[in-house]
């Protein structure tokens, strides 16, 4: 019943007035037809006295608000949301892997690139969404506000769409800024479920508006605005001297500006321009950014304790290794990024023990094992992480003791930390206390 709630939406004659074919004479057919008539029964129109302010027919005057503009912006926005959905789903999958799926440890930078794209695309939607909502804003003051029940449902679905789209952009920006106070929920879960809400609302919206979209895109992009002369409009249009091209140029310029001032958080050559970010490559202790410091994690004393022993448990038993014993094992060096879900990432050169060597030490087959890596952190959602078979056997997966040749700074996870390819930063467990190796599935 959503699909035919407005005359501009569905210009074709409505079929329910025509004699119904065989099907409608059956009970379910008749029931559906009756339900449809009920949903389309006109509701009373409020008195015209109430039609004031933005509800006046002449309230919005810009000649730039056209279906052609709306459809084009909508198309680009749908593409951006699609990119964000796919990259976001990938991150969700990595952090909540289903049992049947062994996520690959290569390409090394796949997670880093996918999340850089997620955040950059999300930020680019800010001006796109803003102008799209500006273009359709008069629709909010439709008169009469509700024609019939089907119209009401359509309007509610549009409200869900606008709300969900704004929610995703705003919570995403808040998360990048690490501003959690105004969000009364756990960000990753809420951002994930509202992404599905937005996706469903977009798909429904495209279905409802399909005829309008088709007509708007079929028409030549025709700028009737080599400016200054939109005379067909009975109301003197505002926005003269501007034109659709100017508006789209402004959107492009804004997208460019927000990209240039943020993308350096994961693209070292542009790090100097990344003024609108919290973390940049090359900053932080030992030249690598940190999200959670040792103090914030409550491990300062535990990490500095000389009685520290790394506990490695496996099929053949448990071994406890002191820091000198760990350093005496074969050391390997790998250049790997810390790639945060918040969009920043930074490369570093890590040196330490291969996790597969530790697995072999406790009698596990390094090619057929998985592991759980636990931190000294007494509490916290990310105090432990799981490593699948592909990550455990990868020779680049290390328990690092050094970064850039220096002993790890406490904020980087001293005495030792996990570092593995193609993996989100929150799962690169720091201050490792225990590794539990088991047979993979």
């Amino acid at each position: 019943m959503l699909r035919r709630s407005g005359p501009p939406v569905n210009p074709r004659p409505r079929p329910e007035g025509t004699p119904a074919p065989r099907g409608a004479t059956t009970a379910p057919g008749a029931l559906i037809a009756a339900g449809r008539r009920w949903a389309h029964r006109p509701l009373p129109t409020p008195s015209p006295r109430w039609r004031r302010g933005p509800w006046r027919a002449t309230a919005f005057t810009s000649a730039l608000r056209t279906p052609a503009l709306t459809a084009r912006l909508g198309l680009v926005l749908a593409g951006c949301f699609g990119v964000c959905l796919l990259t976001g789903l990938y991150s969700h999958l990595v952090q909540h892997p289903p049992g049947w799926l062994d996520l690959p440890s290569r390409p090394v930078r796949f997670y880093q690139v996918s999340q850089g794209v997620h955040v950059a695309t999300g930020l680019a939607t800010i001006p796109l969404l803003g102008v799209k909502l500006w273009a359709v804003y008069p629709g909010l003051f439709h008169w009469p506000p509700v024609r019939n029940l089907a119209h009401l449902v359509e309007r509610l679905s549009v409200a869900a769409l606008v709300s969900a789209a704004l929610f995703e952009v705003v919570t995403g920006v808040f998360n990048i800024a690490a501003w959690y106070a105004p969000m009364p929920f756990f960000f990753p879960s809420a951002h994930y479920w509202v992404a599905w809400l937005a996706t469903g609302a977009i798909v429904t919206h495209v279905g409802v508006k399909l005829p309008v979209i088709r007509a708007a895109l079929r028409r030549a992009p025709a700028p009737p605005t080599p400016d200054r002369s939109d005379r067909r409009d009975p109301i003197p249009p505002t926005g003269a001297g501007w034109g659709r091209r100017g508006l789209l140029g402004a959107v492009a310029a804004s997208v460019g500006l927000v990209t240039v001032t943020t993308v350096g958080q994961s693209l070292p050559p542009l790090a100097g321009l990344a003024v609108l970010t919290r973390r940049r490559p090359g900053t932080g202790p030992q030249g690598v950014p940190v999200n959670r410091s040792a103090r914030a994690a409550g491990v300062v004393a535990l990490a500095a304790d000389s009685a520290y022993r790394l506990e490695v448990a496996g099929p053949a038993g448990t071994v406890r290794l002191s820091l000198p014993e760990l350093a005496a094992l074969p050391q390997h060096t790998a250049r790997l990024p810390i790639a945060c879900v918040e969009g920043w990432s930074a490369d570093a050169v890590w040196t330490g023990v291969r996790l597969r060597d530790l697995a072999a030490l406790v009698g596990a087959d390094p090619d057929r094992s998985a592991a759980r890596v636990e931190s000294l952190q007494p509490a916290g959602r990310y105090r432990a992480s799981e490593l699948g078979r592909d990550h455990l056997r990868d020779p680049l997966t290390l328990l690092a003791l050094r970064v850039g040749g220096q002993v790890l700074h406490p904020d980087h996870g001293f005495p030792c930390r996990l570092i593995a390819p193609n993996r989100p930063g929150v799962l690169q467990t720091k201050w490792v206390a225990r590794v539990i190796v088991r047979v993979a599935r």
Binding site: R3, E16, A20, P21, R22, A24, T26, G29, I32, A33, R36, L123, I126, P127, G130, L133, Y137, A159, V162, S163, L166, F167, V169, V170, T171, F174, A177, A178, W179, M183, P184, F185, F186, A190, W193, V194, L197, T199, G200, A201, V203, T204, H205, G207, V208, L210, P211, T238, G239, G241, W242, G249, A250, A253, V255, L257, V258, L276, T277, R278
Partner: protein, 105 residues
């Protein structure tokens, strides 16, 4: 929708596509609602408040303010500079959306 399902020898018509999109989208939205209600981490009431909050903040505060500023600019600025002011305005609002949470946090 009022026709019984026939085998489907015909290629999908526009209206059939619309039906698929509308129903598919509605099912996806339902999945989101059920998911949020059953996820112990999600806090659905907080989410609902925030959903309503961003809608009101945008539709009642931000957008009317931006439109109002645009009207003022149209009234008081010489025609030649209006385009540049609009470009600057949009870029400024965009950057503020990113910068304000960073500064406040």
């Amino acid at each position: 929708m009022n026709r019984p399902d026939v085998p489907r020898p015909t290629p999908p018509t526009g209206s059939r596509w619309r039906r698929v999109l509308v129903v598919g989208g509605a099912l996806t939205m339902a999945y989101a609602v059920v998911g949020a209600l059953t996820d112990p981490d999600a806090r659905p009431v907080g989410m609902l408040l925030f959903l309503a909050g961003v809608l009101v903040a945008h539709d009642v505060l931000l957008l009317p303010a931006v439109i109002g500023l645009g009207v003022l600019a149209d009234r008081h600025l010489p025609p030649r500079s209006r385009g540049a002011v609009r470009v600057l305005g949009l870029a400024t609002v965009t950057l503020l959306v990113v910068a304000v949470p960073l500064l406040v946090a």
